[in-house]
Structure formats: C-alpha cells, structure tokens
Assembly symmetry: C2
Homo-oligomer: 159 residues x 2
C-alpha cells in the first residue's frame, strides 16, 4: 500500500467521489469531507487537517483525515477514514488506520478519538474500530437525529 501525505487540488474531486462511492454519506456530509481538503490546500499545516491518501488504479482507493483537537494537550481526532468499496476486504482500512495512529503518535498525540453513528448502518464501522483496539467512551443519544446517537471511540496510543 503506497501512501502519500501531500494533498493536491485534484483530491477535492477524488475525495468527493470516494466518499460518495460508499453510499454511506448524505450530500452535506460529502461537502464536509471536501471542505477539509480545501482547507488543507488553502492553509497548509495551519488548517489543522492532515491526510493519508492511497491511490488506486484511476481513483483514490482510501484516505484518512486527522488532526489535533483545539484546546486539548495531546488529543487528536480521526475526522474521516474511507475505503472505496472495490478495495474493501483487503485490510486497507486497518492498514491506513494503523499508519494514521503512527503519524498521530509521532506528532505527540496520546489519544485518538473517532465519532461514529449508533445506527444499524454503522454496525460494521463500529465493529471495525473495536477490532482495531478502540474503546467505546460515550454515547450521545439522538445526536445526529431521532434514534441516531453519536458514539465516541478512543484509542490510547503507544509513545
């Protein structure tokens, strides 16, 4: 798995297509993912958003987006991690997550947080984080919508 960290202007479209390809996200959510890419392109490191991108044949195969959480000392947020359906089931999610954790630890991060949904659609996502050593830290009922709570996972990282 070859990974690059520099975001290019073409990644705006590539990330939009990748996020859409999963069929998981609403239009407003795709827009948020794309905003973070634009922010990185405009402001560089000062954006607070870092990326790991894995290029597939003619599109993005997977990516993660992470960064330090403002007003915390050593907590980081995993904002996005997405694997294209054609590339799922090959350990790519696990691989890119492990690399993300290494980058976060290298940047002084001690805790990596990830938010996801409590809904049935995200059962696979939650199981994925649990397999990767993430611990359920809290649940906010009805956060995303009626019956759709927010689940917060956290992993303490090795220094």
């Amino acid at each position: 798995m070859k990974i690059r960290e520099e975001v290019e202007p073409a990644d705006v479209q590539r990330v939009a297509k990748l996020v859409e390809s999963t069929g998981f996200f609403r239009e407003a959510e795709v827009e948020v993912a794309v905003e973070l890419v634009r922010d990185r392109l405009e402001k560089g490191e000062a954006s607070g958003y870092s990326f790991l991108l894995s290029d597939g044949q003619d599109r993005l195969a997977a990516y993660s987006c992470y960064g330090p959480i403002a007003c915390t000392l050593t907590s980081f947020d995993l904002y996005w991690i997405v694997v294209h359906p054609d590339y799922q089931g090959q350990g790519m999610g696990k691989g890119i997550l492990r690399l993300t954790e290494q980058r976060v630890a290298g940047a002084g991060g001690e805790r990596l947080y990830v938010d996801t949904s409590q809904s049935a659609q995200y059962a696979g996502t939650r199981a994925f984080y649990e397999r990767c050593g993430y611990r359920l830290e809290s649940v906010l009922a009805d956060f995303y919508g009626p019956g759709d709570g927010k689940v917060v996972y956290c992993k303490k990282l090795e220094k």
Copy 2:
C-alpha cells in the same frame, strides 16, 4: 440587557479581551474564540457561527457563540458563553443563555450541546449549566489533558 447579533470588525479585539478577562482560558483557547469571530466576519452566515453580544460601558460585557453541528439534523453547539468578571453575578449569563436557546429553537434546533472541563476550576461553570436545565450526557476522561476530562451537557429545547 441590550443584545446585538451583528458582529463588527472591532469585536475581534473585544472578544479577545473579554475571554482573557476571565483568567480562565489559555492563549490557544483565546485564539480559537477569536477565530470564530473572524470566520463570521469573512463568511457571514455560511460560517455556521452565530453570536449574541451585550455591550458594556466601554467594552463587551458578555457574549455567546453558537451554531448548528454539521452532519446532524437538529443539534446545535454552544461554542462559547462568557461574562466579564465586572458583570458577573447579575444574571447576565443566564439571560444570554436563555436568549441563545430561543434563537437556536427558532432556527429549528432541538438540542443544544455544550462541552466543558471536568477540572475543579470549572465547578462553577458546570453548576451554572445544571441550574439552567442542562443534563450531563457524557464524560471523556483525560480529553483536554491528564486528569482533565471533557464533560458534555445537553438541553432539549421547547419548540
């Protein structure tokens, strides 16, 4: 209590001074507060940040900053609420919070979330939210730093 909602360029400095005046916030936190004002000035409503500001004699007496939480249907975040020490103890915090809740409900918000710290320094802040009808929803241990967890409160708003 006279309240205005339009942010002016001079509010960048005014908000910085107000937030500093409490002695509660680190420099990086003051910078975050100011960033939201700048964002509002630059992008207007599209910034996602709304403000309620109460002018004192020759400075800002209090303000709140709130907005819809991306990817949620009807959840809003209370990003900041600060009362200048010279104006505390007069019900101003309660007043500006109630007005904020009315604005959020008017914009379709059904739940207002507020994050604060678990540390002893914030005992008064937590008591304030509890008095105002906020319910403790979750605690993330060590989120801000060692021994300094994040506490999330939420209030369901009347339509």
